[in-house]
């Protein structure tokens, strides 16, 4: 449970912000959520005659398709039609960065679960039955499942990327200590509880409307247009909300929407395609597994002088977002540390797994795991605590990142030392030491995990958004932005902005669905940036409207615009309440034919990055924090619990602390899941073994830390963040990395012979094996 302290602090802090913000601070979607009345794609009322579709996918990871026989399936009563690549009127190649991914396999299959055909029938049940009747003959080709194998065979997605700072080779010569090693971090299934899905409906003139569970409505629109060979304006994409995304619906929501649209295009009927869980697990990509090597060099006083690493990213069978994810691994390869001499290299290795994709953290967590491993290794060898090395190397103001950006408004040391003080680290460490001395069958371990995470799409051109704000005749407001609500509370934040600017109650404001006809050419809701980009656009649109309304009010009240303010649905003149209400003001504006609609465009200023030099200023700002994790392992059984995770987090000036706290807690637990019990398994033939919720386990209510304490550190925030409230979606996931090292320290307390290994997740199997390693 949270200490009440945090909540009390939170409430007092809220007093300081405007009344509108305070009132609206609960997640505004929660009313319909708890009543089961929120609408997800599978809940939308469908038209009469809607067909249902099921995907037929490759039963092999790599091979040549020798023959496919659809006759029995087509003959099944209720089957309307089966679509393959031959039915694609435009391009069969999809893929956001590199168009290297067929929508439907043509002659070859490249991963187990690769879509081959779409079966459209009167019901999903019939379509599934028909799928079992399809006969396919595939000639096996060699299967690659690991990044190392791919590297050995020269199988890559694109050219390697490399960042460097200083002279690493030379610096290693001056090091007192040098350590090298290997690490592995496994993939992670997104496990959004709402599986992938889309619903396509025919409109007039061959236009198609798609309701999609996607983080990227424009990506869907663009890809549907390309696949159908039509102009983008013929395709409308609408998103009500997502039952979880976590990056899994940034790029990989697209194929299902495209397939539904393709069937609608041909049949002129609406078509629904919702993946069942097994299909979703088998056909979609996950967080990238990484196999990495590192070399770290330190001075006697524990300064990291040189760091070199090679990341092998298991990209899967197609590019998807892998190149961008690989890039972010490099951006975060030194986490919260200043290392003067760094050389990092990443290879996106092409294998026969489903194309791996975005997942909260976007390659950052994989990069951070490696340097934390290198530090743990060095500490183990030198005979110091890892936290001594961590602390000795934390970023300072004006330090340079390996990609050339100068660190500003750095809170790395602030969060670290605040955590040490607030949480009485000396006492905590003593408790752990005493416990370990007095107990043989149980051992405790403690770890520190600092984080530094850059905010912005690292692809600079993606950092923009728009907002369309309508004030209706009666003074109520509708807001459309590019933001997709998927649980992160972005709707609430948008509403708070408008409520604060106009000083009207939140029930007068509605956040519309995300729709490509209202807000076009958008970036996906990703990179933790959705509230910043769309919030800034909303702020701009609302401010423009406010200026116009002030003009109307000043004329009506015969005063200057400067003396006008809006407060609680009333116009104030120089702080004095006037007789003019909000609704009257809107009526006046209408009579004077003032535009009550505004569209604003925001593009993040200052950021840039030159890929030819691998230098620039890619991030608007960074988010900082420190987590202290304590675990207890049962040395008889190899099982473990987390006693506590204590965090000092840099929210800037949080605009919705309840929502932001939820993001920290949720991300933390997801990170712990990745590091501990979530274990993806493929066999050597490339078949997913962890293919159901019975074999792939995410944290349940019993497996989360007993205590999670999150203390906001007082910082100035950043002007590039919306209302100085920093982005919060991804950074806290990396606090979860601390779980791995806390467990490792507990194992060491039991077994002095334990040879530290960096092979995540740390399952009970690895713990028990480590405890009894001789």
């Amino acid at each position: 449970m949270h200490k009440n302290k945090t909540n009390i602090e939170l409430d007092t802090k809220l007093d300081a912000v405007s009344i509108a913000l305070k009132k609206s601070i609960k997640n505004l979607d929660s009313y319909t959520h708890v009543r089961g009345e929120s609408l997800y794609v599978d809940d939308v009322n469908i038209r009469q005659g809607t067909f249902h579709a099921v995907v037929f996918d490759a039963p092999k990871a790599h091979g040549k398709i020798k023959s496919i026989d659809y006759t029995k399936a087509e003959a099944l009563q209720g089957v309307e039609r089966i679509f393959t690549y031959k039915d694609v009127p435009g391009k069969n190649e999809i893929g956001g960065i590199i168009a290297d991914e067929p929508l439907f396999a043509e002659d070859e299959v490249h991963f187990w679960g690769m879509p081959i055909a779409l079966i459209v029938a009167e019901s999903e049940f019939i379509a599934r039955k028909a799928r079992d009747l399809i006969e396919i003959n595939i000639e096996d080709l060699p299967v690659i499942t690991t990044a190392k194998e791919a590297k050995a065979k020269g199988s890559f997605i694109n050219a390697p990327r490399s960042f460097s700072l200083g002279d690493t080779e030379k610096a290693f010569k001056n090091c007192d200590y040098i350590f090298e090693g290997e690490t592995f971090s496994n993939g992670q299934e997104h496990l959004y509880i709402e599986a992938q899905g889309a619903y396509a409906e025919p409109l007039e003139n061959g236009n198609i409307k798609i309701t999609s569970s996607t983080q990227g409505p424009t990506a869907v629109q663009k890809t549907v247009a390309q696949v159908l060979g039509v102009a983008m304006h013929k395709i409308e994409v609408d998103v009500t909300r997502l039952g979880g995304g976590f990056g899994g619906k940034e790029d990989q929501a697209t194929p299902w929407a495209v397939m539904a649209a393709l069937a609608t295009y041909h049949l002129n009927q609406s078509v629904k395609l919702i993946l069942n869980r097994h299909d979703d697990l088998r056909m979609t990509g996950k967080r990238h597994p990484y196999e990495s090597t590192y070399k770290i060099g330190l001075s006697k006083d524990l300064k990291i002088l040189a760091y070199q690493t090679e990341f092998l990213q298991n990209s899967g069978a197609a590019a998807d977002l892998s190149p961008a994810i690989a890039e972010r691994t490099l951006f975060h390869a030194t986490n919260s540390y200043y290392v003067p001499n760094v050389t990092t290299k990443v290879l996106s290795c092409k294998t026969n797994l489903p194309p791996n994709t975005a997942f909260r953290g976007f390659g950052g967590p994989q990069g951070m795991f490696v340097i934390e491993s290198a530090i743990a290794k060095a500490a183990n060898e030198i005979g110091v605590q890892p936290r001594e090395i961590q602390e000795a190397n934390l970023l300072n103001e004006n330090d340079t990142f390996s990609y050339g950006q100068i660190a500003k408004k750095v809170e790395a040391k602030n969060t670290w030392h605040t955590a040490k003080n607030i949480f009485n680290i000396d006492v905590l460490e003593q408790e752990v030491a005493d416990f370990n001395k007095n107990n043989m069958a149980f051992k405790k371990g403690i770890s520190f995990m600092p984080i530094t995470f850059g905010i912005s799409f690292t692809n600079t051109p993606m950092n923009h958004a728009r907002a369309l704000v309508h004030i209706y005749l009666d003074g109520s407001i509708g807001i459309s932005t590019a933001a997709v609500e998927m649980g992160q509370g972005v709707n609430t934040k948008m509403m708070q902005i408008a409520a604060a600017i106009f000083s009207i109650p939140i029930d007068k404001i509605k956040i519309e669905t995300t729709n490509t006809t209202r807000v076009a050419n958008t970036s996906p809701s990703a990179a933790s940036s959705t509230a910043d980009l769309n919030g800034k656009a909303t702020l701009m649109a609302c401010n423009s409207l406010l200026e116009r309304l002030k003009t109307v009010a000043s004329e009506a009240l015969h005063t200057s615009e400067k003396s006008i303010t809006l407060k609680e649905e009333t116009v104030y003149v120089d702080g004095e309440k006037s007789n003019l209400t909000w609704t009257q003001l809107i009526s006046k504006a209408m009579l004077q034919r003032v535009a009550l609609t505004e569209n604003a465009h925001y593009a993040t200023p200052e950021i840039h990055f030159d890929k030819t030099k691998e230098k620039g200023h890619p991030f608007a700002y960074h988010v900082y924090g420190t987590a202290i994790t304590t675990t207890t392992i049962d040395c008889t059984r190899g099982t473990y619990e987390f006693d506590s995770v204590k965090i000092v987090h840099d929210y800037g000036k949080s605009m919705s602390e309840g929502i932001d706290l939820g993001q920290v807690e949720g991300a933390l637990i997801q990170g712990i899941g990745w590091m501990t019990l979530e274990e993806i398994a493929y066999n050597k033939d490339g078949r997913l073994l962890s293919n159901a919720l019975s074999t792939y386990k995410v944290p349940d209510i019993f497996s989360v830390p007993k205590t999670v304490e999150v203390i906001p550190v007082e910082t100035e925030g950043n002007d590039m963040a919306i209302l100085k409230s920093k982005a919060v979606g991804e950074p806290p996931l990396m606090y979860g990395i601390g779980a791995y090292f806390a467990l490792q320290n507990a194992i060491k307390a039991f077994n002095p012979n334990y040879d530290v290994k960096f092979h995540a997740p740390m399952t009970p199997e690895k713990v028990l094996t480590g405890l009894y390693q001789k």
């Binding site: 609960k26 997640n27 979607d29 929660s30 009313y31 959520h33 708890v34 009543r35 089961g36 997800y40 599978d42 809940d43 049940f125 039955k129 997104h190 959004y192 509880i193 709402e194 599986a195 909300r241 039952g243 979880g244 995304g245 069942n276 869980r277 043989m440 069958a441 649980g487 040395c635 008889t636 059984r637 190899g638 099982t639 929502i659 706290l661 939820g662 807690e665 949720g666 637990i669 997801q670 019990l677 274990e679 398994a681 073994l689 159901a692 919720l693 019975s694 074999t695 386990k697 944290p699 349940d700 209510i701 019993f702 497996s703 989360v704 999670v708 009970p764 199997e765 028990l768 094996t769």
Partner: protein, 469 residues
Amino acid sequence: MITFILNNKTISTSEHSGMTLLDFVRYEKRLTGTKIGCREGDCGACTLLVGTRTNNTIEYQSITSCISPLGNAHGKHIVTVEGTNLQDKLTTAQEAMKANYATQCGFCTPGFVVSLTGFALSNSEKNYKNAIDAVSGNICRCTGYKSIEKATQQIVDKLKTQENNSFDWLIKNDFIPAYFETIPKRLKDMEAKDLNQPKGKYISGGTDLYVQQADHLADNEVHLIAEKDYLKGITIVNGVCTIGTNATVSDLWNHPEINSFFPNLKKHLKLVSSEQIRNMASLGGNLVNASPIGDMTIFFLALNSDITILNSEEKERTIALKNFYQGYKTFDLKEGELLKNIRFKLPSKHSFFNFEKVCKRTHLDIASVNTAIHLSIENKTISEAHISIGGVAAIPKYLHETSAFLIGKPLTTEAIIEANNILQKEISPISDVRGTNDYKRLLARQLFFAHFTTLFPKQFTLKDFLQHA
């Protein structure tokens, strides 16, 4: 016709009994608050309440509707999240979820709300621990559960103020809508004749069959037996306990006498599954599923249980459970035969029972290795020993040789270490998604030691075993 009350409405349907209750409420009745997450009872997004009439009251239990046959709703009150909604305001459970930010994307939320409402309606003691058990089968991928814990605490605090568990109080305090009060009479008056369809696959709770073959069951005749009285019930006569094949894990959980004989029963059963599954899963089903890792099977093997089998001519035969299993997923049950009950001698005051299970996730997961032990000790000597172990052979294994070895031995570290050597020869684990062969062997040893450190903490410590092993 299948007849039941769905929320506030009595309905009859001629839909197929074998279709899932989830598909019926979602797609036939368009009650879309009930969500689809996994269709294997592992996420709880489709949680519903089932109200069963007992005398003049109704007993409500939560279930995962994705693995429950529609036919099992016959004669019951089925409650979806919509059926808990109040006009124009939130229920106490809903308000607590909202107030504590316990909902983010909202997709799992109705399941949590229904589970928490089920807890409010249940007879279980209104404390925090029990309330958390009630939502243990609900997976949330967004919140990390801390906010849900807070919401749960808020609900428990409110429930603790009630004087007696009544619909009246729950209605007045906004836990449930007023129509609940009419349900006992309406269920009593409802004519729900036996569906009487003695053909097709036998299905009790359905928790395993629907995971394996939901499509097949939705398309073929099913023989629903969950309501058959002669297969129900737990009776204790002369120190012998007889459990009907239809008895659920929850029936065992709630049985006062069984709990007094097995003081750690709830702790053991919590490892088996979530509350929703415990409410549905029949013990007989767990036995005939024949999984080499079936938790209840391991439990009953160590109790040296007998099982009674009924054939289509209603003739009975009884065999020892340990002789029932023949090979991987094969067992001694002939065409038309049905498991009627399971019987075992209750532990005496000289006897000791323990159950151990380790998996990736402690709760609601399939074991890497599970094991149970039943020992009788007289004059510091082991007079009776039964040890079972799962996950290390093609069948749920009764350890004949290890058990036999221990009989007549004094309870010493040496004897236990020697017994482990025999155990290691009796097992033959294979590497799979639940662990490598080496890991399972090590774990089998550790859990075997754990039986003794748990049952005799003053006599044995982990250190003793490791020094000698």
